[in-house]
Symmetry: C2
Subunit: 414 residues, 2 copies
């Protein structure tokens, strides 16, 4: 073990999940235990808070707060979407960061996020190496999209998948309430990777899910889609379709944009309002004459901590905790990642992946798992996803409503 004494800083970056704060709790509680870590800071709004010296002294927070953070959705410290320029092009941010690191004697840098955030983490790591500033840099994975390279799955996905599958089963019941036929179109998040939309297959596997599932991994053909829906509607009267927001046609055009030309003519000119489900509902209604109901799971799917998975909460915490342990053991320039045994019972083992290998890559749903002419998921996917949605998040309730963490946010300004 190589000894390095100094402060630790942790930042959250990218879109929220319902377990992003569980990873934060893992990092903070572990860092506060480590003898070599002299102070533990939480950056407000990720890298921006570090550049602005806007961060909190986490030693001022209570054990109860860290416990509540495990089930508090979104970003307790504040997140950010900020792309660091390449250091070769513009060193300004890096120099400022180094200045801040030196001022606070920051020797441990933990960054939590998805693809873009791992790019930030990687750039910081490489710069600190280049200028010879001794600092341990660790990425902690996070994204409901589940599209990070080098890890079996990502913290955040299991909870979102459980919420999506549960809600889909509930909508299935709702959609069958009358004896008149209906077509329901469910829209899930996922621009390039269809993992979350694929999670509706968990409901279908129980006989209470979509008839057709469309992921961005496969080109979407409107004619074929409408024919399939029409045939199913004529046959059974009830059809449920799940679509990923990012589905595109063979020319790479987003299907959500099929309705935009007309929408753009409205008096507000907000083509981005009203999503894919609305657009498809228009086409389907025109084709079938059926009652069509578009349902967008919207931001609920990424923040519904009340419907989250215990496995996900535990693993998110573990990822944060292990990042600190590995850093204290001398590791740097890695992202913490998950792997499972090739066969036998599910287990979440931790491994390390070089940040270089992770940054800016995307892991999409394997094409061989997408079956039924691009409208369903194979048993491999069900077996993959099922262990990730086990158990309830354990969100505590007080007087009928959730109890969430309230950070004191004591500034760490020097």
């Amino acid at each position: 073990m190589s000894e390095l004494k100094g402060a630790a800083i942790f930042g959250q970056s990218g879109g929220p999940t319902s377990v992003i704060n569980a990873s934060a709790a893992g990092v903070f509680t572990e860092a506060l235990k480590q003898g070599n870590i002299t102070a533990v800071y939480g950056a407000a709004h990720g890298i921006k808070g570090m550049l602005d010296e806007n961060f909190y002294d986490m030693s001022k927070e209570s054990a109860e707060t860290f416990e509540l953070m495990k089930t508090t959705p979104s970003s307790a410290l504040g997140s950010v979407r900020y792309k660091l320029a390449s250091a070769d092009v513009d060193e300004t941010d890096y120099k400022r960061l180094l200045e801040v690191f030196k001022k606070y004697d920051i020797r441990y840098f933990f960054y939590n996020g998805g693809n873009d955030s791992m790019d930030t983490c990687n750039k910081v790591s490489k710069y600190m190496q280049k200028v010879g500033y001794d600092c341990r840099v660790m990425g902690v994975p996070k994204t409901i999209d589940n599209d990070l390279w080098g890890t079996d799955h990502c913290p955040g996905f299991g909870s979102a998948a459980k919420y999506v599958a549960t809600s889909t089963m509930e909508v299935y019941h709702d959609a069958r309430v009358y004896d008149k036929g209906t077509i329901t179109i469910l829209e899930m998040m996922g621009r390039n990777a269809g993992w979350l939309t694929a999670a509706t297959a968990l409901a279908a596997d129980k006989g209470k899910g979509p008839d057709l599932i469309y992921l961005p991994e496969v080109d979407f053909d409107m004619e074929k889609f409408l024919d399939k829906v029409d045939a199913l509607y004529k046959k059974s009267g009830h059809v449920i379709v799940a679509v990923s927001e990012g589905i595109k046609d063979k020319d790479g055009k987003y299907i959500a944009e099929y309705g935009s030309m007309s929408k753009a003519t409205d008096s507000f000119g907000h083509a981005q309002l009203g999503g894919l489900a609305d657009t498809l509902a228009g086409f389907v209604q025109e084709k079938t004459g059926a009652k069509v109901r578009p349902v967008e799971f919207s931001i609920l799917q990424r923040c519904a901590a009340h419907g989250g998975s215990k496995t996900d909460v535990d693993e998110a915490f573990l990822a944060g905790q292990m990042a600190v342990k590995f850093a204290c053991e001398g590791q740097t320039d890695y992202m913490v990642a998950f792997e499972r045994p090739a066969s036998g019972a599910y287990q979440c083992n931790i491994k390390l992946v070089k940040l270089d290998e992770v940054a800016n890559k995307e892991k999409t749903v394997p094409l061989e798992w997408i079956i039924n002419d691009g409208t369903g998921l194979s048993k491999e996917f069900i077996d993959y996803a099922t262990p990730l949605i086990q158990g309830a998040s354990g969100l505590p309730f007080e007087n009928g409503l959730p109890k969430f963490a309230e950070l004191k946010k004591v500034l760490a300004k020097k």
Copy 2:
């Protein structure tokens, strides 16, 4: 106690809730226990199933099924929207119903639903009285809208309110994730009564809810609304607005229709797609230039059994159970209703209200509970709603997903 031997039939009617089947379980389990009830039938799709002789023999269902029904959303038997003509105008349906009742010796009629369903129940009751057919008729209340007359509250509301308040608190966290300002517009169900939108005030009361809440009980003024949002946005950067789908301007025009003229010009001509939240988002974005996110809780708010309230599940079951008990004691022509003590701790007491008094009336949110120039709810509402959202629904999970009732549905055809 007046003795009446014969079969019982139960039907579900109107829009689904997440506890409508809890009332069914209450009716069925109690009816199966009663010595005077010779058979227990469940009608497929309410009154329609009765007219079509399409109903199930509930003695064929297991105790486990009834237990699971308590937390199975939507309508296990199938619901219906069917308005019975006045018997003075057209007796056809009534004569047919009498024929079916006689054929199966049905002497107990239980009907579960909202305003329209209580009208059906009332009409059946009066007709059977008129023709001298000895039959006990009982309405069982149900609606997420909470707008039934003569009862303190309605089964279905508590669970929907808990889901709405919980999700609002989660969205509150999500909406504050970045340091850039955002405006979030939440849309809840409720055409004429704003109870469910008012439930977001439970979140606001915890400091994690909407800044502005608009109910259909108060005329909506677009200018004033936009000024308020703009001022709040300029002050704090983060604004959350909750609106009821049914808000109207002083001329009675639905605000959702404000966008319809432009929407109607789209290539599909589906003005009904894309709701109020989308429409308001357009206006708000134009006024403020902010990032605006419309979130529609859609059908999830009425079917999300996983987010339901134990109090609601228990009370829904009790309503069904008591309907049977009262009928067996000789009562008829009533709806089971709830009342609470005027002061002291909350308690759900059962009373009976004449069907005549309930049918086709609506109970809206008291105007004196709507404060802050029509944008907030008073403490009276918080005190009213809080007891109704207590406890978790207890929805059982199996291998990570909800376990719902699966009825055998053994037909009761003679």
